[in-house]
């Protein structure tokens, strides 16, 4: 398996009124050709900032990717590309869709224009050809009456259709990686199911790799090959999906899984994790989860590295070293 994308020691900081926020702090992961990796975490875990950092979409100068970070895509370091080279990657090689289809589309341009301009930016196509491509894409993402929808403005579409248009924009140049940042969070559950089905289907047909960012463990379970769990700006556990859900290695993953509401669960509230995610300006020392962890002991005052926790899986927890402590 060849690695398409390799993120190494990615650190992204923001200047805030309360000091420097280390939103992403030393994150490393790989993405293989054709693979779907889910980045799972709660708000403030750094998952969206990670995604934005890959395409260098962090709003500067408040946000900044720290020196020493590396993002290698097909052998090139994205962080050292010139603006022009970066543009050639964005939208053509790596594309992105966002959480809010309402605000992520330009309200004063037609759907057709917004899809076609991606083609025009990357390929030597005529306007007419670009329009044809846009039309094909609208059909591909399952929009009925595509011909007339080309001339529609975003406000004339429903939330689900807008997200389909976003997907059409992202995929029109056949990127090798699609980054989907909470693509269904703003949608109703029946529409969410449609969009997830569409993404799975398109991924298979177009043979691309995908990074799916979600806070919903259910969505990750249904779509990902591997799952990386983030907490406090760090990846705390990476594992193949089935293994992770069957036997979470990190107490945070375990807690999240237990807290997730289930249709087939008991008819009383699920166990919760005490406390809340600390602000990114003030991470706890040592293991970032230890103030909320039921197993925490002295060793957790120093931060564990990502430890080998089984075949193809790692976890940032000393319990991997001392499994006996897991018993209450």
């Amino acid at each position: 398996m060849t690695m398409l994308l390799a993120v190494r020691d990615l650190t992204t900081t923001f200047e805030t009124a309360d000091g420097v926020a280390r939103a992403v702090d030393g994150v490393s992961f790989d993405l293989a050709e054709g693979e779907t990796l889910a980045l799972v975490g709660e708000s403030g875990s750094g998952k969206t900032v990670t995604a934005l950092s890959i395409l260098r979409l962090i709003p500067e100068p408040a946000g900044r990717i720290a020196p020493g970070s590396r993002i290698e895509f097909a052998g090139r370091d994205l962080l050292s590309l010139s603006p022009r080279e970066l543009r050639e990657v964005r939208g053509a090689e790596i594309a992105m869709i966002f959480q809010e289809p309402m605000t992520s589309l330009n309200p004063v341009l037609t759907v057709g224009t917004q899809i076609a301009e991606t083609v025009l930016a990357h390929e030597a196509a005529s306007k007419r050809e670009a329009r044809e491509r846009a039309l094909d894409m609208l059909r591909l993402v399952g929009i009925a009456d595509a011909e007339s929808r080309l001339k529609s403005y975003p406000h004339e579409l429903s939330g689900g259709m807008r997200q389909r248009v976003m997907i059409a924009i992202a995929l029109v140049c056949r990127p090798r990686i699609l980054i989907a940042d909470e693509p269904t969070t703003a949608l109703d559950v029946t529409i969410q199911a449609q969009i997830l089905d569409l993404l799975t289907d398109l991924k298979r047909r177009l043979g691309m790799a995908m990074i799916l960012i979600t806070h919903n463990l259910g969505i990750a379970a249904g779509i990902a090959d591997r799952v990386a769990v983030m907490y406090g700006g760090r990846i705390v556990e990476v594992a193949p999906t089935v293994d992770l859900y069957r036997e979470p290695a990190h107490p945070y993953t375990d807690g999240l899984l237990r807290a997730a509401p289930r249709l087939d669960g008991p008819d009383r509230p699920t166990p919760s994790i005490p406390g809340s995610v600390p602000p990114a300006t003030d991470w706890p020392s040592g293991c970032r989860f230890h103030p909320r962890c039921q197993y925490a002991w002295e060793r957790c005052q120093s931060e564990p590295p990502l430890l080998e926790a089984g075949p193809a899986r790692t976890a940032r927890c000393w319990l991997v070293d001392e499994p006996a402590r897991r018993k209450p």
Binding site: F98, S104, N106, V108, T110, E156, I169
Partner: protein, 324 residues
């Protein structure tokens, strides 16, 4: 769209009606009546004033006066000037094309400078050039327009002789010029007053445009445009600026009253025979029908200006059209 324009026109008529009513109330709420100052003149006999009061209907009960007033307004009869021997309508008819010309030219300069400066600043917020431009726009926003006019007049008119210092045309040579030459002469006279009025407005426009641009650039769809790999020129020019122009177009309607206020002062400085100067001269002579007439006409101009801005916004913003 036709329906929309008709609807907005109807609203405009309501506004004008309220303006007419308000001016009536103002005239009658002020201490004394329009002839008080005349009556105070030592060489005017009281009988004459009484006779004028009767002629003007000022001795009638208020509601009768109001109905008659409304009726006159409806017929376009704005009364007779107390100092010029002609109707207010005739005086305004002569003045208004000059004011419209001046206002439109100033609007062009105002938005031309304001939008480009503001858009540039918004695209590079907190840069050195942004700070410099901010200092300039705050100053422009704070300059008394008549003083700016005096300074420009002094520099470019009286010292450098680049531009004429007064009027709309050259009183000596104009009648002998060719068609194109006449246009050139008018434009030559227009430059300084329009520049004065336009510069004063550009400060405010630039500040608005800067804020709108910063807001637009922070929107999610600009991030989408970047993620697509568009050139920065397209990201800023097509995606951000297009959206940032919408509030500015709407602002043009609001800028109109300020612009007309400015004409009163600028026309006085440059002896520009427009509506504003007419009103300013009339107030010195206590010629109240001219002043109220000019105010009413100015209000109508504002209503029409607002309508134009609304229609422009509607054309520019697809969201205002009903979904198909």
């Amino acid at each position: 769209m036709v329906r929309y324009v008709m609807g907005r026109l109807a609203q405009g008529v309501v506004v004008v009606f309220v303006v007419v009513t308000l001016t009536f109330i103002l005239i009658h709420a002020a201490p004394g009546d329009p002839l008080t100052s005349l009556a105070n003149e030592p060489n005017v006999r009281p009988e004459v004033v009484e006779q004028m009061r009767r002629n003007l209907g000022l001795d009638r009960p208020l509601h009768v006066q109001y109905v008659r007033y409304l009726g006159r307004m409806l017929r376009g009869d704005l009364g007779v000037s107390l100092t010029q021997h002609r109707s207010v309508a005739a005086a305004i008819r002569d003045a208004i094309p000059n004011t419209i010309l001046l206002a439109l030219a100033a609007l062009l300069i105002d938005f031309g400078i304001g939008v480009s400066a503001g858009a540039f600043q918004g695209a590079h917020p907190r840069s050195r050039r942004d700070r410099t431009l901010t200092a300039v726009t705050i100053t422009l926003y704070s300059i008394p327009v008549f003083w700016l006019g005096m300074v420009l007049l002094f520099l470019f008119g009286e010292q450098l002789y680049w531009f004429p210092v007064a009027g709309v045309t050259d009183p000596v040579t104009y009648p002998f010029r060719s068609g194109l030459g006449k246009v050139a002469d008018r434009l030559h006279h227009l430059v300084l007053p329009a520049l004065t009025l336009g510069l004063a407005g550009a400060g405010y426009t630039a500040r608005q445009q800067r804020a709108a641009m910063i807001e637009a650039i922070g929107q999610d769809f600009v991030r989408t445009a970047r993620a697509k790999g568009l050139r920065e020129r397209l990201v800023v020019g097509r995606h951000a600026l297009r959206n940032a122009l919408l509030p500015t177009i709407a602002l043009a309607g609001l800028a109109f009253p300020a612009l007309l206020s400015g004409t009163v002062l600028v026309e006085t400085v440059f002896s520009w025979p427009g509506l504003g100067r007419l009103a300013a001269d009339a107030i010195g002579r206590r010629d109240y029908p001219i002043v109220t007439g000019a105010a009413l006409v100015a209000a109508v101009l504002v209503v029409l200006g607002n309508l134009a801005a609304d229609v422009a916004t509607r054309i520019a913003d697809p969201r205002t059209k009903p979904a198909s």
